[in-house]
Structure formats: C-alpha cells, structure tokens
C-alpha cells in the first residue's frame, strides 16, 4: 500500500511522457497547448487514441496511445483537427511524424535467437526504410526514419513484445 502511494506520488511529480498522437509538440509544450477537447480521439477511426487518467498525474485528460493495444495507423486525420495546434496542424505526411522510436530487445527477438520472423519488418508503414533486415535475417531500426507508430510493437508475436516504442519525449 505504502509503496503504491510512493509510486503514485512519484508518477504525479515526474509526469510520465507517454506516446502522444502524431504531430505532438514536446511534452512540456504539449501540456500547455492541449485543451482536452477530445477531437483527436474522436476523429481516430481505429480508436488508437485513448485518454490519460489519474496515473498520468497532471496530464490526465490528454490524448495518448498504447501501441500494444491499438497502435497508430498513421492515417493522419488527427493533426488537422487540433484547434490549439498541440498536434502540429501542418504534419500531413506520415514520414514527417516523430512520435517515438522503436527499440528492439535482442535477447527476446526471435531472429536473434535463431527463429525466422519478419512480423515487424513486413508491417512497418515506412516499408524497407524504418526497419531493415540485416543479412536478410535480423531486423534493425533506422532511427532517422522510424516514426514511432507502434505497429511493430503490436504485431510482435513475443509476449510483451520484443520491439517497444520509446516515446520521443523521453529521448
């Protein structure tokens, strides 16, 4: 119980930086601009955008994405509807999105332990650019191209996913 409270208070103060919808300003700037109008979450046809609750402390009520549940399919419908520009309205190409960067855990990733798997490589929306196969076998993330949509994290067959999106705001 005590540890839960300490954890909770720490979360409140630190203000976790979750994965934000495409086009989001850096976390601090984003929180100043977002007016919680919910339009991005409502316009999302895949229900990818969820709402932050109390565990996110002062950013509760703001939009975020849990890629393992529903990733962002970069349809780019949400940035133009943001009234305050917390999601940059001029981000219209999926290649320009920088939500985060995928990080591969080489200890659990199947090809690295000898089993052929191309799930992340084949589902990446920036096909053959953001995730490449080294030696036709090992997936590798190209940081300059990765948009952080989280589709790879969703399709990974490993329990808990061997490829996880690191929010751009934490890097």
């Amino acid at each position: 119980m005590v540890s839960f409270i300490i954890e909770f208070v720490r979360d409140l103060i630190s203000g976790k930086s979750p994965l934000r919808p495409p086009g989001a300003f850096p976390e601090k700037e984003f929180l100043k601009k977002c007016i919680k109008c919910n339009k991005c979450a409502q316009i999302c046809p895949y229900f990818s955008i969820q709402m932050a609750h109390i565990e996110y402390g002062k950013s509760m009520g703001t939009p975020l994405i849990f890629p393992r549940e529903v990733p962002c399919y970069v349809c780019m419908k949400c940035p133009p509807v943001c009234p305050t520009g917390a999601l940059k309205n001029d981000v219209v190409n999926k290649e320009d999105v920088r939500m985060g960067i995928a990080v591969i855990n080489e200890e659990t990733c199947l090809p690295y332990i000898g089993i052929i798997c191309r799930a992340c490589f084949e589902n990446c929306p920036i096909f053959r650019e953001a995730i490449i196969l080294e030696d036709e076998m090992y997936p590798k993330v190209i940081k300059e191209k990765c948009i952080g949509c989280g589709i790879c994290e969703k399709v990974c067959p490993i329990e808990g996913s061997a490829i996880i999106i690191e929010s751009a705001h934490n890097i």
Partner: protein, 297 residues
C-alpha cells in the same frame, strides 16, 4: 413576438430555455454516439467543438492556452467569434441555456428545495451581499489565470465544470474509461448542495467569468423599472427566485447575472411587470434622472 400572448411571454421563454437545456444535454450525448456510427460531422466537447467545419472554442480555455503557450492559432482565433458575439448580444446565456453543470444544479436545487423545505428557505432569506462589488469576481478570475500561468498548469480546464462533464460523457460512451476529473464536479455540486447557494457559478467558474468580460452597453440585460414595481421592501420575489441569489433591483447585477430570466418570469406572474429584458441602456439613465428628481424635490 413568437406568436405568444404578451403577458405570458417570459414564462414561455423559460419553457424554451428548459427545452434548450435538455436539448444541449442530449446533444452532448449524441456527439460521441454519432461517432460510434462513424458520423464525424460534429466532433469535440465544450472545451472546443467543430460543427461541420465551424470551429467554436471556449474563450476561457483559449485565454489559458494563449497565456501558457504565448501562441495563437487561427482556429482558436476564429473559434472565438461565435461565443464572443453570443456574449456581446445576449450576455452569459451559455451558462443559463446550455451549460450542463447549470442544468444539473438547477434540477438538484429543485429536488433538494422540495426535500429540505425549511433549510432551503433559511438559506434563501440571507440578504447580505446579494450583488457584491465586481472587483471580487475579477480578482478570482485573475487569481486563477495567474496561478495557472505561474504553475504552467492548465488550471482553467480543471475548473471548467461544463468542459469536464462534456468530455467525460464522450469518454464513457467511446469506451475510454471515466476520468477522475468528474470528482471535481462532484465536490463542487456537493459543496453547493450543502450550503444551498450557487457560489461556484456566481464567483468562481472561469468559463462564465471570461464570458462576462464581453459586455457592452447594448448587451441584453434585465431592466428594472422602479416606477411600476409594487413589491415593497423585504418581499422580493425576483431576488428570492434568482438561482444566483442576485437582486435585479440593485446595482452590480452584472457581471454576475446570466440572463436566465427567472426573475422576470416571477415578476410578470406577480403582475407588476417591473422587470424586463432590454437591449439598451436608456432605462437606467431615466431611472437615475428620476431618482435625482426625487432626491432634489
């Protein structure tokens, strides 16, 4: 006007107001329901809403974002037009006709007044400071804005009861879970229910406070004609019925009054007709000159 009998105009107006209140509650529920059916004609909530391309932004939230981020987007700028024009013409009618929080408290006070008749009457009888100096109102608004600016924290959003209610309706219907912001609204409601007074809407709510900034001489107001008033001294049905415990007979009615028209309705019922909605300032100057005459005679 409206093809109604002149003498029942204001009670009919109140019927229309109650209808609009229910309609706006249904509207807030309909927006997320339509989205579930993949109709994206209306999106947003009472912080900001887009109705088929027309953007509307709550002025209080807009003011806060501008203060915090020191930037204005064109959407925010154009979104302010509708609420500001509405406020300039009709006053804070958003509060009395549309705000879901006001609708809920109106229903709750009606219920609790029936349940606890004695306490309600007692609370209503206090006549101290019905229309306090507006400096109080403005300083509370300034304090909220300065605090949110200093803490870099969107305080206005957390104090906007209509915004919280509307966004939680949408969250629940779209399956995003209920947020704890709703607790804030519950705290305010229970606080007001305990003391039988609507202090939140009267003094604190930043949405209403920012809307009442937009007031000019010709804005709709409750006009009081002293010459026709036949309610003597203490029995004042108009200030008794006022949900905000204001007295339309005294100065400083504005910026507090949100033009719900209940005082006019009861005044009309009592038969004197001293209160009415007016768009111009003429009556007041006439009153002042009358009172000057009276004092000098």
């Amino acid at each position: 006007m409206f093809g109604l009998k002149q003498n029942s105009l204001y009670s009919n107006l109140n019927q229309i107001r109650k209808f609009v209140q229910i309609f706006s509650l249904i509207f807030l529920i309909a927006v997320p329901v339509l989205i579930l059916y993949e109709i994206w004609f209306i999106i947003g909530n009472l912080y900001s809403i887009t109705i088929g391309g027309l953007d509307i932004v709550d002025p209080a939230s807009a003011l806060q974002t501008i203060l915090l981020s020191k930037e204005v987007t064109t959407t925010v700028l154009f979104g302010l037009i509708v609420p500001i024009v509405l406020a300039l013409v009709f006053g804070k009618v958003f509060c009395s006709w549309m705000c879901p929080y006001n609708t809920l408290t109106e229903w709750l006070t009606a219920v609790s007044a029936k349940l606890f008749k004695k306490r309600a009457r007692k609370a209503k009888l206090q006549l101290v400071d019905r229309n306090p100096n507006p400096i109080l109102y403005w300083s509370i608004l300034a304090a909220i804005l300065i605090l949110s600016w200093m803490l870099e924290f969107p305080l206005v959003l957390f104090l906007s009861a209509p915004g919280i209610i509307s966004s939680e309706i949408s969250h629940v219907i779209l399956g995003m879970g209920m947020g704890l912001e709703l607790l804030i609204v519950l705290v305010i409601i229970s606080f007001e229910a305990l003391i039988f007074k609507r202090y939140w809407c009267k003094y604190v709510c930043p949405v209403g406070a920012v809307l009442s900034l937009f007031r000019v001489r010709k804005t709709l107001r409750v006009a009081y004609d002293k010459a026709v008033c036949n309610c003597a001294g203490e029995s004042e049905p108009c200030s008794y019925i006022c949900p905000l415990q204001l007295s339309p007979k005294q100065p400083y009615l504005y910026p507090y009054c949100f033009n719900c028209g209940l005082c006019i309705k009861i005044c009309e019922k009592s038969g004197s007709g001293a209160l009415s909605f007016k768009f111009d300032e003429k009556k007041i100057t006439a009153e002042i000159s009358n009172s000057k005459k009276n004092c000098c005679e």
